[in-house]
Symmetry: C2
Subunit: 123 residues, 2 copies
């Protein structure tokens, strides 16, 4: 097992590599760029404090836009922007009743992500 770096030619440039076998294996098991981008977008969406508080609130039950704005103490416009992003990524879904749009978590994955994240933070 090599302990010192060797220089490997990569598309014209030479790159330092200590364990070529691990590098090859990691490349073989890597996700495609599109999947990485989607997965990253999912976590980024959950990373903003406002959006996260929205998700945590919806984990307790559906809410409409203006109630969420009151909860977060931000403008309804800001909440609407955030909800759009959450909706585009299938983190939340809507149900309409008259003028009100009721938002709720889209599926159980979102609950799971929140639960596991909380468990990690709380330990």
């Amino acid at each position: 097992m090599p302990q010192r770096a060797t220089l490997v030619e990569e598309q014209g440039c030479s790159v330092r590599v200590v364990h070529l076998d691990r590098l090859v294996q990691a490349r073989a098991g890597a996700l495609g760029p599109r999947q990485v981008e989607r997965l990253g977008a999912l976590y980024r969406a959950m990373g903003d404090p406002s959006r996260l508080r929205i998700l945590l609130a919806l984990a307790q039950g559906e809410m409409c836009v203006c109630d969420l704005a009151a909860l977060l103490k931000v403008s309804e416009s800001a909440v609407s922007h955030q909800l759009r992003r959450l909706r585009d990524l299938f983190l939340v879904k809507t149900r309409r009743d008259a003028q009100c749009l009721y938002y709720s978590l889209d599926d159980h994955h979102v609950n799971q992500l929140l639960a596991v994240g909380l468990a990690h933070v709380e330990e």
Copy 2:
């Protein structure tokens, strides 16, 4: 059950609220600001494509800094910066063997977060 918004006084400002009961309930069940910040930082850390690719690679086994740099095709400095953030948030841990620092996922929560996120993205 009220369907139209009423104006509620909140610290001097009046705020539109449709369902006061849901608002009160959401406030009661909300996390503290510190926990929200920590949880958000966790997801933000996973949201960056470079850091996410690092985590996905480490999910297959430990790797050292320069191999990760070769895998991501970015500078070792950039990887080191990212690893520091991941380490501060207890997403990865290190093991030293001579000059090499081997990084791996810190605990099973990280694997779970990746697995659930992937499941959500792949459906």
